[in-house]
């Protein structure tokens, strides 16, 4: 199955994406991950003001069949949470890179995302799965 992986995003092998604009990182999960998880029924996200750490869990996504940790690509402070998605996580699949973002983080160090994958690298990885 072919999914879209926008070129302006960076990707983690654990299937989260990050979009860096200025000091703000927008984090979400990829179309591939959403498809694999199946019906998403619950999102657990941090609160505004909480800090997140690169490589560590910032929340969970639950589908009917499983619960998975969400990993942060950056270290920083949460400035926004997507309440709309928390209320209706089943809509996450509609626009994973648009309306389906999860949290926005004010990053401390922009180079955090340097070691994340490009769209083509990520796409090559999931295609192999």
């Amino acid at each position: 199955m072919a999914f879209e992986y926008p070129d302006d995003l960076k990707y983690l092998d654990s299937h989260e994406y990050v979009r860096l604009e200025g000091e703000t990182a927008t984090i979400g999960i990829t179309a591939f991950a959403i498809d694999q998880l199946g019906d998403i029924v619950f999102l657990e996200l941090p609160e505004v003001g909480d800090s997140v750490t690169k490589g560590e869990s910032f929340g969970t996504v639950e589908s009917v069949k499983a619960v998975e940790d969400l990993k942060s690509a950056v270290t920083g402070t949460v400035t926004e949470c997507n309440n709309e998605m928390m209320d209706s996580p089943e809509n996450l699949a509609d626009e994973p890179y648009g309306k389906g973002w999860l949290i926005k983080v004010k990053v401390e160090n922009k180079s955090d995302i340097d070691d994340a994958m490009s769209a083509s690298e990520y796409s090559a990885q999931v295609e192999g799965e």
């Binding site: 299937h15 591939f32 199946g38 019906d39 029924v41 009917v64 069949k65 998975e68 969400l70 192999g128």
Partner: protein, 379 residues
């Protein structure tokens, strides 16, 4: 996140329906040594189809044994706590094989087919996939094989479950015999698409429906024709949410070798008063007389957090038990779970907490089943 990787599935068994299921772009998972579809169009959609219309499951991975012998019923009586002598021909009994400690070796359905003119009794036993080898060894060890002929048809037959309020009506179009007079747990040797098949009004979804055992090629034919008739293909994911709403136990999770049927809220299949000795009787008799120490109860979570297998259940900040199964109930819209709790706590209405990722969330003990179908037949 770590999401499923289909390539990790090693060479394991596939059912005769694998190819037609694969054509439907099902997502597969490994279950009990078999590569089985976990979902087709989506667990919630499949779940809803079974609750409101009709869905079908390939359950050919389940163990299938035929048994025949002159004293078959009396021999099996020694291995289960249920009184099989009450069975009339073409009636089935859900029961459990017990070890001497009263623990459940497996949960099974025995389909009694009756006795012929020479006194030969015949029946089928359907068992769980992962426990097929264990059950077979146990049966061969404890049945007198001089008198009872045992045959393992597990890999030779297709088993299809067609479930939902419209399942019988749709299935009827392809079955020669009238299905309407068959009661829940009733069964017959019938004719599907002009060929012989075994049809039983049983299932694992809490809805009305049939389980059909047939030859592989006929099984594929029936699958395709039911698909065209509008029966939605369903995977193990929906099978799990459906059975959990109906509070049906999953072997290896809610029941196992260390849990007795009385602890597992299966007291209704234990008939101590009407039958003689059976393996495990002593323990069950003691538990019946003195009461059990723990009980399997239903829990309803207050929030949206899902209590899953292995999570701790707390009462006044002390761990009192563990979740055995849990999910978000698609029909009810809130998370439900099963857990073993000390008997003194296991009362409907009691407030507890479940620890989910280091935080505690409120839960209430509720009546089981969580969901009861309006269309399901009574026995």
């Amino acid at each position: 996140m770590s999401v499923a990787n289909n390539k990790e599935i090693a060479k394991i068994a596939r059912t005769p329906l694998f190819t037609v299921v694969q054509e439907l772009k099902a997502r597969f998972t490994s279950f009990g040594g078999w590569e089985m579809p976990v979902q087709f169009s989506g667990i919630t959609k499949e779940h809803e189809a079974v609750r409101s219309s009709a869905g079908m499951f390939d359950i050919s991975h389940m163990g299938k044994f035929t048994l025949q012998g002159k004293n078959l019923v009396s021999q099996l009586q020694c291995l289960v706590p249920s009184d099989l002598s009450r069975l009339v021909p073409n009636q089935a009994q859900y029961s459990v094989l017990l070890n001497p400690q009263g623990g459940i070796i497996d949960d099974i359905i025995f389909y009694y087919q009756g006795e012929d003119s020479t006194g030969l009794q015949k029946g089928f036993m359907i068992v769980n996939a992962a426990t097929t080898a264990k059950d077979k060894a146990w049966l061969l060890e404890h049945l007198d094989t001089q008198q009872v002929e045992f045959q393992d048809l597990s890999t030779e037959k297709v088993l299809l479950a067609v479930q939902g309020p419209k399942a019988t009506e749709i299935l009827q179009k392809f079955v020669e015999e009238d299905l309407t007079p068959i009661k829940a747990f009733g069964h017959l040797d019938g004719t599907v698409l002009g060929k012989p098949a075994f049809l039983a009004r049983t299932g694992y979804t809490g809805e009305d429906g049939f389980e059909i055992m047939l030859e592989p090629s006929l099984g594929v034919e029936l699958w395709q024709i039911l698909l065209e008739a509008g029966v939605l293909p369903c995977g193990l994911g929906a099978r799990d949410t459906l059975r959990l709403e109906a509070a049906m136990a999953l072997y290896g999770q809610d029941i196992d070798d260390t849990t007795t049927p009385l602890e597992a809220a299966l007291g209704w299949l234990v008939h101590l008063d009407t039958k003689g000795d059976f393996i495990g009787r002593e323990v069950l008799q003691q538990q019946k007389a003195n009461g059990v120490q723990r009980k399997l109860v239903g829990l309803q979570m207050q929030g949206r957090n899902i209590a899953r297998h292995g999570y701790s259940v707390l009462s006044e900040n002390e761990k009192v038990g563990e979740i055995t199964s849990g999910t978000l109930s698609p029909t009810l819209g809130y998370p439900i779970a099963l857990a073993y709790l000390p008997t003194e706590i296991a009362k409907v209405g009691n407030q507890l907490e479940v620890e989910i990722r280091s935080k505690n969330y409120p839960a209430t003990i509720v009546k089981r089943p969580f969901y009861r179908s309006k269309s399901r037949l009574s026995k």
